[in-house]
Every structure is written in structure tokens, then in C-alpha cells.
């Protein structure tokens, strides 16, 4: 009979046809189910070889049932099977005699002997206590293969909820990747363009920074002048005219609102300061440079200029006591830090 042939090949075929992992899992589950059926029949104990054989037979039975039913459906021009296909397949698998076989052309499916046997079986079993499969099985095929994992992670069109572009693409295929993964798409948050408003805002921020800068400058200048030797400080610059210019500019600055005028006002002062700085630099090169001034010499900002000179002057008075020098160092460092903070808005202004 057909089953005889299959018992030799079936178990050898199974591991090679499907992946070994799913085969083992399903085989173990089938074994448990078959053992449960045998237990309901009356057995208490099992030996492993007969249980394995019986499991193999059960699996082959299901496979053959499905195969016959599918072929019957295909013969009738259908791809999906219905109940009559299964009944015919049952008849096909039965090992009964030829006389018992019934063709279903004239009669209905219930005339089939096998089906009646199955119905009786269900009725009898329903009368006894039901014994459903005890363990819960996960929904499979569950694959832990790495390559398959990557494939399984991609959801299908149905799962994502997208309609595939083009009617020729079925819904169960994995969805296309998002366009931003392969194309350059704009990523900015679009807001209304307001160039005038932006300019006004920019100017306002500049003014704010300059006001702070000026107030700090005034404080420093006051401190320097009150600290003694104010005339001497300014006197080293060209005729003190620069100083006066600065004072005037500083006062007039309060009244001016537009940020651009600050740069204009300080431009001549800046140039003068730069020239002065270069000369001071050359002078200092000849002398021995005190340590604290090395950082300050790079300064070309206007704010740094009067301070530079004072510190240079102080640097020249070397025979002062060490404590004074320490104090000066600390003050220099503090002022340097302040200057660094003010430099950033000052940079903006000069640009």
C-alpha cells in the first residue's frame, strides 16, 4: 500500500525538506499529542521506539491527507479545498475493501463510510471527557535563524497599513522602506519667513550685547582711573586724543540706538589701538616678557587696549614687592576672563 513505501522515505525526507529546527519542534509537539491520544485509549506507559514510529505515522497521515485533498481540489479547478475534497481524501487513504468505497457523484458526502466513522468517533469522544492538547503551542513557524529574523522584522504592507504602489504588488509582501532612507528629503521645520522681523530681532540682540559691553567697559575704565595713574595710562597713547574720542564716543553711544554706528565709532579707535599694540609688541619683544602678559599681547580688541597699557606699565615696575605682583596677577586673570566673555558679542559687532 502507499503507506508502506512512505514509511521508509517519509522520516528521512522530513529533516531535509524543512529546516531542522522547525522539524524538531513540530515532531516533539506531534509526539506529545500522540501520547495523549494513546493515554485516552488506555495506555499508561510508553516505550520510546513505538511512540516515535506512531508519531511518524500520524504525521504521514496528515501529510497524505493534505496532499490528496489538494490534488482533488486542483482536479476540479480550485486552489482552495473544501469539505468534499477532504472526504474524498479520507476515502482514498482508507485501507478498506473496494466494495465499501463510494463515489460521491450521485450521493452526498455523508454516504462516505469513512466520514461516518469519523462522525461516530466524534460523538463517542464527545460523550467521554474531552482531552485537548495540554500544552499551549506558540504560533509557528517561529524561526530564530538570524537571516530569517531580519526578514521577519520587516512588516508586510498589511501590517504597516500602507497600500502598495501599483496593483501588481500583493499585500502580504514586505513593505517598501521609507523614502528618507534612500532619498534626501528636506528635514527642516517650516515656519513663515519673516526677513524684516528677523533683522529687527537680530539688531535688538546686538544692541543688548553692546549695551552690556559698554557698561562693563565704563566700569573698568572707572576702576582704572580711580586706581591711580589714570593720566599716565592715557598719556602713553597718542596725545590722549584717543582717550577723549573714546570718552565722547562712550557718552554718545548711549543715545545711539543703531548697532552699526558702534562699529563706525570705534573704527578709528580700533585702528589706533592696533597700531599702538604693534608698537608695544615690538617694544616688549626687546624686553623680557613677564609671564602674565603673554596671553594679553594677542589682544586686538578695543576693550583690551587701555588695560593692556596699564598692565604693561605695571609689568615694567618689576622691583615691586611680590605680594603686589600676585595681586596684579589675580586681577589680570580676572580681567582677562571678563574680556573673553565680552569678546563674543564684540566679535559679532566687528563682523
Amino acid at each position: 500500500m502507499s503507506l508502506e513505501r512512505r514509511t521508509h522515505d517519509g522520516e528521512r525526507k522530513d529533516p531535509s525538506s524543512s529546516s531542522s529546527s522547525s522539524y524538531e519542534f513540530t515532531h516533539a509537539a506531534a509526539k506529545a499529542a500522540v501520547a495523549q491520544i494513546c493515554e485516552s485509549v488506555g495506555y499508561n506507559h510508553f516505550k520510546d521506539p513505538p511512540l516515535e514510529s506512531l508519531t511518524g505515522f500520524a504525521i504521514q497521515y496528515i501529510l497524505q491527507l493534505g496532499k490528496s485533498a489538494a490534488s482533488f481540489a486542483n482536479l476540479n479547478g480550485r486552489s482552495q479545498c473544501n469539505v468534499f475534497d477532504i472526504v474524498l481524501a479520507l476515502e482514498d487513504l482508507s485501507s478498506g475493501e473496494e466494495e465499501e468505497r463510494v463515489s460521491l457523484e450521485s450521493c452526498s458526502a455523508l454516504r462516505s463510510v469513512k466520514l461516518r466513522e469519523v462522525i461516530d468517533f466524534v460523538k463517542i469522544s464527545d460523550g467521554e471527557e474531552e482531552s485537548p492538547f495540554l500544552q499551549t503551542l506558540p504560533r509557528f513557524p517561529v524561526s530564530y535563524d538570524e537571516r530569517r529574523k531580519r526578514m521577519m522584522m520587516v512588516p508586510s504592507f498589511v501590517e504597516v497599513g500602507e497600500t502598495p504602489p501599483g496593483k501588481h504588488i500583493p499585500l502580504w509582501l514586505p513593505a517598501f522602506p521609507d523614502p528618507h532612507t534612500y532619498k534626501e528629503t528636506p528635514m527642516w521645520i517650516e515656519r513663515g519667513l519673516d526677513p524684516r522681523g528677523d533683522k529687527i530681532e537680530q539688531a535688538r540682540q546686538r544692541r543688548k550685547a553692546e549695551r552690556a559691553l559698554l557698561s562693563l567697559q565704563r566700569k573698568l575704565v572707572c576702576r582704572i582711573s580711580s586706581g591711580g595713574g589714570g593720566d599716565r595710562v592715557w598719556g602713553d597713547m597718542d596725545g590722549g586724543t584717543v582717550k577723549e574720542e573714546i570718552r565722547e564716543e562712550a557718552e554718545s553711544e548711549e543715545e545711539k540706538v543703531d548697532g552699526v554706528s558702534v562699529v563706525e565709532a570705534f573704527a578709528p579707535a580700533l585702528e589706533a589701538a592696533r597700531d599702538e599694540d604693534q608698537m608695544a609688541w615690538k617694544q616688549q619683544k626687546k624686553k623680557k616678557k613677564p609671564v602674565g602678559l603673554s596671553k594679553l599681547r594677542g589682544e586686538k580688541k578695543f576693550l583690551g587696549e587701555p588695560l593692556d597699557l596699564t598692565l604693561q606699565m605695571k609689568g615694567e615696575d618689576r622691583p615691586l614687592s611680590l605680594r603686589e605682583e600676585d595681586r596684579d596677577d589675580k586681577r589680570r586673570r580676572a580681567e582677562f576672563i571678563l574680556r573673553q566673555c565680552m569678546e563674543n558679542p564684540a566679535d559679532l559687532n566687528q563682523l
Binding site: 500500500m1 503507506l3 508502506e4 514509511t7 513540530t26 509537539a29 506531534a30 499529542a33 495523549q36 491520544i37 494513546c38 485509549v41 488506555g42 495506555y43 499508561n44 506507559h45 510508553f46 516505550k47 521506539p49 513505538p50 511512540l51 514510529s53 506512531l54 505515522f57 497521515y61 496528515i62 501529510l63 491527507l65 493534505g66 496532499k67 485533498a69 489538494a70 482552495q80 479545498c81 473544501n82 469539505v83 477532504i86 485501507s95 450521485s106 450521493c107 452526498s108 458526502a109 455523508l110 454516504r111 469513512k114 466513522e117 469519523v118 462522525i119 468517533f121 466524534v122 469522544s125 464527545d126 474531552e130 482531552s131 485537548p132 492538547f133 503551542l137 504560533r139 509557528f140 513557524p141
Partner: protein, 134 residues
């Protein structure tokens, strides 16, 4: 025509009985889980979204296994009981599914299953006892 009408009526009855049976299938949970049966049926090309047909397949398989197992049980019970050493021990032997019983049961289904001997110590090992005597 009469015969046709009668057969038509019979058909309706049969159809009704069939649908009733299929409905009753949903109440009865077969021992073999639906997922497992669906997996094997899909492996062989059987495609059907209806759960009742899958249950029908599961029930048919369950019936097949139950038949084989009950036949083997009959063979097991028919075998003479082992020698009772203890007088108090009852004649209650343990029902174990062995390869011998299974092979005898499966022979009725035209399946030849023979468990090989552990080792062969004579050329006549493994031959059918009937022919061995000859």
C-alpha cells in the same frame, strides 16, 4: 423524476447533517492542536482558511491513531500475564506500548514495522517465527 426528487431531498438532509456535524466540530477540541495540523497540511499543499476543515483533518488523524493504539492495546491484553511471584499481587499488568504490539496492529494497515534485534547471534535471528520453525 421521482427518484431525482427523492435523492434531492436526501441530499438536503445530508447537507443539513453535514453542516450540523461541522458546527459540532467547533465544540469538540481535538487532541492534536489546530496549529500543528495546519502546519502539516500547509506543508503538503492544503490551503483552506476554514478552521472547521482543519479540525476535520485533526479529528480524522486522531481517529486513525486511536484505532491503531486500541488494536495494539488489544494485543497487549491478549498476551498471557507474567508469572506471579507474590501471592498478594493481583493479575494487573502494566499496559506499555511496545514495538511488538504496534507492529502487529500496524500489519492490519499493511504497514510492516519491525524493530530490529539488539544483536544477531544466529543467522535465523529476525526471521518470522512461522518460517523459523521450518
Amino acid at each position: 423524476m421521482n427518484h431525482g426528487q427523492q435523492s434531492g431531498e436526501a441530499k438536503h438532509e445530508d447537507d443539513a447533517a453535514l453542516t450540523e456535524f461541522l458546527a459540532s466540530l467547533m465544540d469538540y477540541t481535538p487532541t492534536i492542536p489546530d496549529d500543528l495540523v495546519e502546519h502539516y497540511l500547509a506543508q503538503s499543499g492544503f490551503q483552506c482558511p476554514d478552521v472547521r476543515l482543519i479540525r476535520l483533518g485533526a479529528v480524522a488523524t486522531q481517529k486513525f491513531v486511536a484505532d491503531v493504539a486500541s488494536d495494539a492495546l488489544q494485543h497487549c491484553k491478549a498476551r498471557p500475564a507474567p508469572v506471579v511471584k507474590d501471592k498478594k499481587q493481583q493479575k494487573d499488568k502494566r499496559l506499555i506500548l511496545t514495538m511488538e504490539d504496534l507492529s502487529k496492529a500496524l500489519r492490519e494497515y499493511c504497514v510492516n514495522v519491525k524493530h530490529p534485534e539488539y544483536f544477531a547471534d544466529s543467522p535465523s535471528t529476525g526471521i518470522d517465527p512461522a518460517t523459523r520453525e521450518e
